[in-house]
Symmetry: C2
């Protein structure tokens, strides 16, 4: 594949210094390691130069909604675009009734952050031994929302579709965060056809490589979407980011090649450290290695975890040469220990 | 001035059709009529092409905060940047105590929108006969915020600095919206040095011509800023818009030339219709003319008003040829009547 062939480039350019001490390596925020290649960047800039910056953005961004709808196989009435999916967590909580939310730690911290901001109780139903969903149904009654993250951050595992349906059958509002779905190659987004109580959150920050543009979207039934639209102020997403998101959807073959490459690299690193690594369906690996400080001293930044995952690190998948440095540093850590 | 010399261009290009029926003219959203000229647009695109889109934006955007601080003559600890100043209205309401807000209609509708969203009572203290601030002090006790807009939208007048200080002396939180301050050539933003209870809202959407980028900012004392920072989720402003705002501050001479041109055009239109127009310090005029429908039929879009301002229109100042068409259409309306 032409696009993917350049994804490992840059290694030779490091010269005699060796790749691993040349620059800091950031594998700590689950970003996509690839910015657009020069030809696509130039194409995007041509599009951005046509945006009339002095005019308010289209609200709602009809054209982007159409493209997203096509991408997820639903209608544009099922889609809401926002300034990053974080904003949508707060918006969704404003739509439903109920005095508490259910979260399943270890998971993404923003659900609890936004729930507390809304004055809601946060009920924790911890994930099981293999990070499978616990008995969230027991706390479904009166819940404003049950949050399910699949693939989950920071554990990387997918919750089975059948299990998600069981939770949906309670009738409680379910927010399914699929920020990393593209790396898993599977999604439950089509369940919004059958369940009015489901809101799926997606993002352009991970597989699409647009963390800098801050574009997320929610997918839900038309009824739920209409309620969401009523609670939001206008002009939430800026015109440049709208255009960038559209451009990526217009170049989905590049996105897919990037995802394939990252998944391949994830499996390469997993095989190397399978004894201390959990299997992952996302663009990161959870490892039973207390190596954050050791790696940082070598210029490799990963996320050290706490609580139940104290002594673990979450490692985002980088470019090939970045991953080589990570592997080298992890081997040094294990030899040290 | 070199930059301003091109601001009236485009008229000749219309050819024999005549400028006024060639395209729809949008004077209804108080946008800046000028997108960046080609040389500046190219410079901005060069900057945008350097933004690593795959990485999360700097949070807070330190470099933009520095430039804004320099622009308003304060320190970067006094500045918070957000995804449009609308977002800041909601954020400010989350920081203070009190069960109601005070608004002075006719004014911008978003204050009441966000206050109701927070479950707050909206107390209206209407502007006086010449749109001067009423006795808002009488409702200051227990107020979560007193909103003052200067220049006010849609009336265009400035509230005198001494009057703003009187309200600040009550000790109640005051949100001073200065979205149009650059067109007035005056600002009370320096009062944040003396008043901890003052938050000033500003925007890049009007004078800076970046409505499409959605960048606003708040200016307040360091204590109030610290409280605001605590209530906000991270990564609110995208990396492209941050760069666009920085670019405009780096080309402030262009912004100033645009503002001078718009102010000159505003005064030209005002002189033509002084009998039915209110004086304005913003980039729009309030007119006692029930002409919205008449103008729309001629392709000129203005904002028709309601309530106390029923039978009035708010007309944003456009490019020279757009204003010529407006003037022509308004003369036709008056001849018709």
């Amino acid at each position: 594949m032409v696009v993917a062939s350049g994804l490992g480039e840059g290694r030779e350019a490091h010269g005699s210094v060796g790749p691993c001490r040349r620059a800091e390596i950031y594998l700590d925020r689950n970003e996509n390691p690839f910015d657009l290649p020069p030809d696509l960047k130039e194409g995007l800039m041509r599009e951005l130069s046509k945006v009339p910056l002095n005019r308010y953005p289209p609200s709602p961004p009809a054209s982007l909604k159409e493209k997203i709808a096509e991408y997820v196989g639903l209608s544009s009435e099922n889609v809401m675009v926002a300034n990053g999916s974080d904003e949508l967590i707060g918006a969704v909580l404003g739509v439903f009734e109920g005095g508490h939310v259910v979260v399943s730690p270890p998971t993404f911290a923003m659900y609890a952050f936004f729930a507390r901001k809304e004055g809601l109780d946060v009920v924790e139903v911890p994930l099981g031994e293999n990070f499978e969903l616990g008995d969230v149904e027991a706390r479904a009654r009166g819940a404003r929302a049950i949050f399910i993250t699949s693939p989950n951050n920071p554990t990387g595992n997918v919750q089975p579709r059948a299990r998600i349906e069981e939770v949906l059958e309670t009738g409680a509002p379910v927010v399914l965060d699929e920020a990393y779905a593209e790396f898993a190659g599977e999604s439950a987004v089509d369940l919004v056809r059958d369940y009015d109580n489901l809101v799926v959150l997606r993002t352009f920050s991970k597989a699409f490589g647009l963390a800098g543009a801050r574009v997320g979207y929610a997918v839900a039934s038309e009824e739920t979407m209409a309620a969401l639209e009523r609670t939001r102020p206008p002009f939430a997403v800026n015109a440049l980011s709208i255009k960038a998101a559209e451009f990526m959807l217009d170049h989905i073959e590049h996105v897919n090649a990037t995802v394939d490459f990252i998944v391949g690299e994830r499996e390469r690193i997993y095989r190397e450290f399978s004894a201390c690594s959990y299997p992952s369906r996302a663009n990161f690996l959870l490892m039973r290695l207390d190596a954050e400080g050791f790696l940082r001293e070598r210029g490799v930044h990963v996320r050290g975890l706490s609580g139940r995952l104290s002594g673990h690190i979450r490692v985002s998948i980088g470019k090939r040469e970045e991953n080589d440095c990570l592997i080298e540093a992890l081997h040094a850590f294990m030899a040290d220990g």
